[in-house]
């Protein structure tokens, strides 16, 4: 079973605040799911060359890396959805 400390560490990395009850339930749920994932340990994947990126997803439509100027009404719409804002800016708590 995965420990309470481990759950708290992962939660911190994931930026999630969990209640005590949630931590307890998470220990149980994560453990049973991670145990199930162990089924993969038995497969021989040596034949698969370190998964090569080309066989994953083909990004066929990459555009040129140019600046795109958005219409100001689009900017307004995006800023409108921010919970805390002032004029054209999104407010963020001081980091330093």
């Amino acid at each position: 079973m995965i420990s309470k400390d481990e759950v708290l560490k992962i939660a911190r990395l994931a930026r999630l605040e969990l209640s005590d009850a949630e931590v307890e339930k998470m220990q149980k749920d994560l453990s049973s799911i991670l145990d199930y994932f162990d089924i993969l340990k038995n497969i021989d994947t040596l034949s698969v060359k370190s998964y090569n990126k080309s066989s994953l997803i083909i990004n066929s439509n990459l555009r040129e890396d140019n600046t795109i100027f958005e219409k100001s009404e689009n900017n307004d719409k995006l800023i409108q959805s921010a919970p805390d804002k002032k004029d054209d800016y999104i407010k963020v708590k001081a980091i330093l």
Binding site: A11, D29, L34, I39, L40, T45, S55, N74, S81, P83
Partner: protein, 496 residues
């Protein structure tokens, strides 16, 4: 006007013959939603103003076109429902999460834009498992959706609202998304047609990301022909999604004799899809359907997809890893639920000034996300974290290659693959809710398709003897061979 079980073609004919107007039709569907959705719970929001405005415009256009003898697109005036993780400009897009409960979309998803351009009318946004995480729609933070075939049961998920809206005649068709099962499972449980499309065939622009290498938009419809019309309308290349491609599909040939005269048309049946855990009733219905195809002259061949038993673990590692990364954007700063202005914080801090950025992240996400979203973010963070990456994420990516190879080998020998969609019919609401792993096991036959990026349809082929619940047949094709699926599905539709 009276509500009928309209198909897309029925509506096109009716509009052309001036039997009804788009406005009358739209009002009829809006009435039906008002009358029946209290019971079903398919819609999270009904976009009545948008729908009536669209209908008015469509009616004006139709008058002009008819007067000048011009054709109009076949979807013109057809009412539809959109899963609430797909953006419709100016309307709420909640993802069935408290996190986005009040979020208003600032633009149209590519598929929505295509539908609007063809004159489709949007009735509303449908319920889903929060952020499309689930197979029953029970993980919605906003509403319970019931299966119209049996109100004590789940509609399947995550596009459960879309399937339930169709099955209760509250829409003509609907859009869903499929990351691991989410179009096919609800289609199977509610008895409608659902298509998971080839990865890259429909742009994901404007679809709120769950797991980007797996997500695809897909149509849910009442029959195969409708499904094909919708697919043809919304597929294609889009500059906003670098993985989308323009593909020229061959036209559909619905004659059995044309399909099998030139060379045998082979249907592969993977033995791994009929292993233990498969409901006897479901097995019987699927096998009977396949036998009927054999009677028609199709060649049936047993095949093996040996990596199938590893697909579920592989899927849930990749899905949660990508989801944990995608959901990092919900930070309480740019949009969505936020604790940023909440000055009465409980616990550690007593006033807002002392609150730092990390607290806003922790609290906004801690309150905004529901239990399954948190579970998946935690799992993904774990499998991507230092010390576990190789054992989980990298291993899963390698296994994904094996699964792809299985299918590639199979398609050298067969034209299509068939089997069940879900091992059992719709289950009772609450039955699997407390045990996440048992819920995940419902996806055992559907996730390999997403890992390989293939198209697959759930086609209703029968009902269970005991409880009269719909059962879907899964038809899997090679990449960009949706046309083969449409072919055979329209044949099966006639013989079951």
């Amino acid at each position: 006007m009276e509500l009928r079980d309209f198909t897309i073609k029925d509506i096109n004919k009716g509009l052309k013959a001036k039997e009804f107007s788009a406005t009358e039709l739209t009002k009829t569907y809006l009435d039906q939603i008002k009358k029946t959705d209290d019971k079903i719970g398919a819609y999270l929001s009904v976009t009545e103003d948008l729908a009536l405005n669209q209908a008015k415009q469509v009616d004006e256009e139709i008058v002009l076109k008819l007067r000048s003898g011009q054709e109009f697109p076949i979807l013109t005036g057809v009412p539809c429902a959109i899963k609430d993780n797909i953006l419709v400009e100016g309307e709420k897009c909640t993802c069935a999460s408290k996190m986005l409960e009040n979020y208003i979309a600032s633009y149209d998803a590519f598929c929505v834009k295509k539908l609007k351009e063809s004159g489709t009318i949007i009735l509303g946004k449908t319920n889903l498992d929060e952020f499309a995480f689930g197979s029953s729609t029970e993980n919605s933070a906003l509403k319970v959706t019931k299966n119209p075939c049996d109100l004590s049961r789940v509609p399947g998920g995550s596009s459960g609202g879309s399937a339930a809206a169709l099955a209760s005649n509250q829409s003509v068709f609907a859009l869903g998304t499929d990351t691991g099962c989410s179009v096919r499972t609800p289609a199977s449980f509610c008895g409608v047609v659902g298509l998971k499309t080839t990865y890259g065939s429909i742009s994901r622009s404007g679809v709120i990301a769950s797991a980007s290498s797996l997500d695809q938009v897909g149509p849910l419809a009442k029959n195969v022909e409708d499904c094909e019309i919708i697919f043809n309308t919304i597929s294609g290349r889009d500059l906003q999604d670098a993985t989308s491609v323009e593909f020229k599909y061959l036209s559909v040939d619905r004659q059995v004799k044309n399909l099998i005269t030139k060379k045998p048309f082979v249907i592969g049946v993977p033995k791994e899809f009929f292993s233990k855990g498969l409901d006897k009733d479901v097995e019987k219905i699927i096998k009977n359907t396949i036998l009927k195809l054999e009677d028609q002259g199709f060649k049936i061949q047993e095949i093996s997809l040996p990596s199938t038993e590893y697909a579920l673990a592989c899927y849930y590692i990749i899905q949660t890893s990508e989801a944990s990364s995608n959901l990092a954007r919900f930070d309480g700063i740019r949009y969505g639920y936020s604790e940023t202005q909440n000055s009465c914080l409980v616990g550690r801090q007593s006033n807002a000034k002392d609150q730092n950025l990390l607290d806003i992240y922790l609290k906004s996400r801690g309150i905004g996300f529901g239990p399954e979203s948190k579970r998946r973010i935690m799992l993904g963070t774990y499998t991507l974290s230092v010390g576990y990456y190789d054992a989980y994420y990298k291993k899963a990516q390698q296994v994904r290659q094996l699964i792809k190879q299985d299918f590639a080998k199979a398609f050298e020998k067969v034209d299509l693959i068939m089997g069940p969609v879900v091992p059992f019919p719709a289950f009772k609401i609450g039955e699997k809710f407390d045990d996440p792993l048992s819920m995940y096991l419902a996806d055992i036959y559907t996730v390999p398709v997403n890992l390989a990026g293939l198209p697959a349809m759930s086609l209703p082929v029968g009902k269970t003897a005991k409880e009269n619940l719909p059962v879907g047949l899964q038809i899997i094709a090679n990449h960009f061979e949706e046309n083969k699926i449409f072919n055979i599905a329209s044949i099966i539709e006639k013989i079951v």
